[in-house]
Subunit: 411 residues, 2 copies
């Protein structure tokens, strides 16, 4: 089996960290000068690895193996959060490069085809997963003329400013790929808490957002008796409290829900509120759990409305994001490789955060691998992982990539 | 016993309504041209009633009986809310005038001394109860230079603009008054709901305001497990819900509490809140009930903190207003008069809203009488009361005033 070069892997990761470095973090938002500098550097490294390299019209960097397929596409995004950490995205990008190199250097795997990719704007400077959306054919010129970056620049202008206006876009063509692999830091603390080194991702969780509105009657907080009040806020407090009592009865360990936004009108100390709105976000890989949550909300709604004081309105706050399931076969290859490289120290687990595979699954079978985040921190300058975990994760993915392609080629 | 003149009473109330009339409401904020016009008109009516009349340096209008004391001071405020009703304040002011006239016309009571008063700015254009505060000696030139009206004018400038800069202030001098009586619309619906006509006020309720702050840990709403979260908002939801469950166990009928203002930080759908703040206002005439409420809050605080996730901080949001108790003897006179004029159709009751007696009690024994508000509406153009209730209330107060002064003079 191929052996990854730990020193080269860490050296490339550390070099990428210097591009857009601020304090101990990285500021490399999509299409910024730092982002484009990183992409040009990556393209150079892909070329040195004997990959046929293209920077496309949105900035996706593809390093294509000169071997014929079936091929595996491996990578992540190289843009960062406005104040990002050094590993979010970068880790998976350099894994793709290193795995292409490592397999190319091993007599047993040198004929397998690994394409490396660095997607554009996964972190939503202009549009979440811009690069992978463009790849699957999900972007129109109108969308590019309307999307505005965090600094106020329109996406199409930013593309022109980056010198990409006349550059072709890479789009998916059926035939070459067995599928797509992506490694990422966990961005949570399950692995660290359990003393484990590898997470084989089962699914990216589905997200449902709800807005729950309470309609009562605004009134004087001194002279309106409790019996006469139709206090919209009391409905909100009851709903939120009972959600926190009832949801745990059907939740599983990875299920999460958040009520992070509240609006009360008129919002005065001395006025009985006539209106209140609660936002609720729920995430789980199992849609049955999310369905059960909606049933609980409906039951509490009936309860509150039955008292004849407050009307409750429940509506989706956003289009629901359905869970995105990882390919079972790829998971089995990753699991076997994890068993070899971290025996007894890995787990199957869902991803609670979104990633490019949610978009790519329209065209490609996908799988993901996690390595531990120190203290679960991400989207922050303090984001970090232990070198040993970074190296081990790359070896696991290299082993899995080799065995997936061997199986696909019948080698 | 003296008999009030119902036609004259209603005619004066309706005339006062025309000054500052907007739609079917009244806009006569303190020291506005309409307010000053109303005060000059009142001064003329006081003069016609043979009262020795003064408009003082803040606009208080005093009509002093030419009889020697002991005297009763009777009145209310003639300024209105920014969009006020026609009876809030005006009712009590015209009652004072009518009672002075009615007692002066009756052979049995013509030697009793009734002074009529129209206080300034009870409705907080510049400063709540400005007129009565000035009367008890509670206003300094610094306060007048700092107080700003709803239109941005400084109080001292507004006094100058009203032509009152060099006018002396009326202040309390011990000796003349047995006490102060004020009639008011109820501003609630207890009387109407019960089919009653008169409320004899026992006390103006005390008010305590609290700010309850919850300190947790801000985090990612996708990747932070429920077990690891220190969600400040969940503490707030629990506190608010349990307050609404526990307070009714110690509350009495007139007790009210309101949680009308909430702040959640950072207030994003997808971020676990690190901080939350709940405002709580509680009103009762019985401080033991308010004390019991604070004990409940303390108990819930201990419960929430015992889980080791959230710190709770409870602090007063304002200086507490203590309940203001009405004079028992005056209440007995009002009760006897109510028994005569509305047998079986009156009650003792607290006032849930604040009034000038809260200030005046520093110098004067006080009592108040309520008449029903249609649908409990006040501080709104739609505010109204039935004519029969207006007339009946004035007769009750006239009877009580006569009997209080007869008792005081030993007549």
């Amino acid at each position: 089996m191929p052996s990854i070069n730990a020193e080269r892997l860490m050296s490339d990761l550390r070099h990428l960290r210097t591009i857009g470095a601020v304090e101990n973090g990285v500021v490399r938002p999509a299409l910024s000068p730092a982002d484009m500098e990183a992409r040009r550097w990556l393209a150079g490294r892909y070329e040195e690895a004997n990959l046929e390299t293209t920077i496309d019209g949105v900035g996706n960097v593809l390093g294509r193996s000169r071997n014929s397929g079936p091929a595996l596409l491996i990578g992540s995004h190289s843009d960062t959060q406005p104040r990002g950490g050094w590993l979010d995205g970068a880790l998976g990008v350099i894994y793709g490069l290193e795995i292409a190199r490592a397999l190319g250097e091993d007599a047993d795997t040198k004929d397998l085809a690994i394409d490396a990719i660095a997607w554009q704007d996964e972190e939503s400077n202009f549009m979440s997963c811009l690069g992978s959306r463009s790849y699957v054919g999900g972007i129109t010129p109108e969308m590019e003329a309307e999307a505005v970056g965090r600094d106020g620049t329109v996406l199409s202008d930013a593309i022109t400013a980056a010198g990409l206006a006349d550059t072709p876009r890479i789009t998916h063509v059926d035939g070459r790929y067995v599928g797509y692999l992506e490694a990422h830091i966990e961005q949570g603390a399950y692995l660290e808490d359990a003393g484990e080194h590898i997470g084989v991702v089962t699914a990216i969780v589905g997200i449902r957002g709800m807005r729950i509105r309470f309609h009562g009657q605004q009134n004087h907080a001194g002279t309106t008796t409790m019996a006469r009040r139709c206090d919209a806020a009391t409905g909100l407090y009851e709903m939120a409290y009972r959600i926190n009592q009832e949801f745990p009865k059907v939740a599983t360990e990875p299920t999460v829900w958040t009520m992070g936004q509240v609006q009360i009108e008129p919002g005065a100390v001395s006025i009985v509120p006539g209106f209140a709105e609660l936002s609720l976000q729920m995430r789980d890989q199992d849609e049955a759990v999310l369905d059960a949550f909606q049933k609980i909300i409906a039951d509490i709604t009936v309860d509150i409305e039955s008292r004849g004081k407050i009307k409750v309105e429940v509506e989706p706050a956003r289009a629901p994001i359905r869970p995105c399931f990882m390919n079972d076969g790829f998971q089995a290859h990753l699991a076997r490789a994890a068993d070899v490289n971290a025996p007894g120290k890995w787990r199957h687990m869902p991803s609670a955060a979104g990633h490019d595979p949610m978009v790519l699954q329209a065209k490609l079978e996908c799988a993901m691998l996690f390595i531990p985040s120190i203290a679960g921190i991400s989207h922050d300058f303090a984001e970090d992982s232990h070198d040993a975990d970074i190296v081990r994760g790359c070896q696991v993915m290299a082993d899995a990539a080799a065995s997936i392609l061997k199986e696909a080629t019948g080698a």
